[in-house]
Symmetry: C2
Subunit: 336 residues, 2 copies
């Protein structure tokens, strides 16, 4: 297994990425190719006590900033770590590409260079997140904001395969994010999507509201990339805001301060449970290769877990399952 | 001041509504007209030790359920508490109408019967919510899902007036909910809205992401009703989910249980701070009358606060300010 890792991606690159890659190389034994500025990456590697032999560096002189416009930066910076990472994936020099860099640029580079899986119309970013029950999948959280009902149907199929083969749900329940549960609710776009999902062989349980995202009633929730992106960011921000609110209040008096001290292990355990870094990164589904997008704020552990996830995604042949499922459904439609 | 209150609205109507109305009648001295099934409401009033004289009942034999389709139910149930409440507002028999009932039905009834303010194109539901800084306004959270850029511009104007005259912000900062801060981000619809807001005399600070909703960088955030509704419901649900997660973890062992016990006052204080019921209800902006929509799960206190809010909204002449602001902007456009 050979995995390319964007050495320049993320808020604390390359230090944190190098650390995560070293951890992953030791723990999983994959061949890891750090793509990025050779000098900067070697400097970080030099700081480590021991560097496993299955880590190497592929020089990419340029880097794309977290806030650079995606399409332009990919067009202009052909020698950026993201562009070269996508090139390596395209040329099958690696089995997977992991980046915690500029999400838009990663989506753009991988889609343009590697292309889409047979039958897939648009790529979608899936996040795997904890609910009150099990892990759920929300797709798309920002790859595609010019969305058609057919794209959402395919997101449902792709999310279904991810749940089934990666998370082990035998028959995932699929929901459509809407503003009410009744079939008549929502925009025309949503109603047309509802019809498509209803006619599909998927276990479509119907519309779900924003309030159902974290209850775990659905295993896969589909929405357009604009909505999904806002939902993702609101959720992250609200979890942080609540933590700040709680901390402020716990400073109320000596008793609550003592209470906070004693409760600390519980909060630490909770942080671990809801921490995105435990789950790795977000798979970019629909592209003809394995690509995992890490959070910009990824820690070394998050990078390590994203690399493990990339390896699993490859081994479990998720993409092959997606192609077969989409073919199967097209065949059914042609016969139907 | 005469305020009609939907006696049949909310999950625990009429009991909780009657209790809230009695509290409000005593505390604020408004004339309160409970609209709904006379027998059921009288029964609840009978349970009270003392009923203030400024409370009366207006019989409405029908009630619209929380999940009934909005438009149909308003057309069919002309004698429902919501329809009659809207009729009273239309006929200027009351100065304001408060309902914690079926939101869609309230929007539909009030918009159809009372009509829109001069110059206003679409109504919008505004929520007032706590951030890490001050109270902010998010509009629209579900009145209008067939949104045009001009509607969002008007939402910004209406939210601006609400912040300025009700919450006391001299020059509210307005943000447009988007998936990135750069001007080039988002759908065509969002880009056209961005241009309109940029050309307006409002203090438009540009695009804001989902992550900025709770930080308080903006005083008013505008978005279409579909997005706003999902954001609202995700937020409510996530806050609840986090509470459940925290409670589960605090049961870890004896020490964390003791910690939880000692921290309790802090959590209670927090609950009060972030509790929607402290802020009353959500004003339906753009209609030619005062209408406050309460949460379906409203407590008696929430009903009381929604009634207070309705009184303030009327006294502070928010609607007159909205009409003047929209006229002023149209004049400017004609001259420009």
């Amino acid at each position: 297994m050979r995995i390319a890792v964007d050495g320049m991606g993320g808020d604390k690159a390359p230090a944190v990425v190098v650390e995560g890659a070293v951890l992953a190389a030791k723990e999983f034994g994959y061949d890891i190719i750090l793509v990025g500025n050779n000098e900067l990456i070697q400097k970080e590697l030099f700081k480590k006590k021991s560097v496993p032999k299955n880590i190497s560096v592929y020089h990419a002189p340029e880097a794309i900033g977290m806030d650079e416009p995606a399409a332009t930066s990919i067009r202009r910076k052909r020698n950026s770590s993201i562009s070269i990472g996508a090139d390596l994936l395209k040329g099958k020099k690696v089995d997977a590409f992991v980046s915690a860099g500029n999400t838009g640029a990663v989506v753009c580079a991988v889609t343009l260079k590697v292309g889409l899986l047979e039958g897939v119309l648009r790529p979608g970013i899936a996040i795997i997140y904890p609910t009150l029950k099990d892990l759920s999948v929300l797709i798309d959280v920002g790859a595609n904001i010019d969305t058609k009902p057919e794209h959402l149907l395919q997101y449902a199929i792709m999310g279904n395969m991810l749940q089934q083969y990666m998370l082990g749900k035998e028959r995932p329940r699929i929901g459509l994010l809407n503003i009410g549960e009744e079939e008549s609710k929502g925009t025309d776009f949503i109603k047309r999507t509802h019809t498509l999902l209803n006619e599909s062989p998927l276990d479509f349980i119907g519309n779900v509201e924003g309030g159902n995202i974290y209850t775990g009633e659905c295993d896969v929730i589909v929405c357009d990339g604009f909505l999904g992106n806002v939902v993702l960011k609101v959720s992250e921000s609200l979890a942080q805001t609540m933590t700040i609110f709680i901390k402020r209040k716990l400073k109320m008096n000596l008793i609550t301060k003592l209470g906070a001290l004693l409760s600390m292990p519980a909060f630490r355990a909770l942080k671990k449970e809801i921490d995105y870094s435990e789950y790795g990164g977000a798979p970019l589904l629909g592209v003809d290769g394995v690509c995992i997008i890490g959070h910009g704020r990824s820690s070394a552990k998050a990078i390590k877990n994203a690399i493990r996830e990339a390896g699993q995604f490859y081994t479990l042949q998720i993409n092959e399952h997606i192609v077969a499922a989409i073919k199967g459904m097209q065949k059914e439609n042609n016969n139907g």
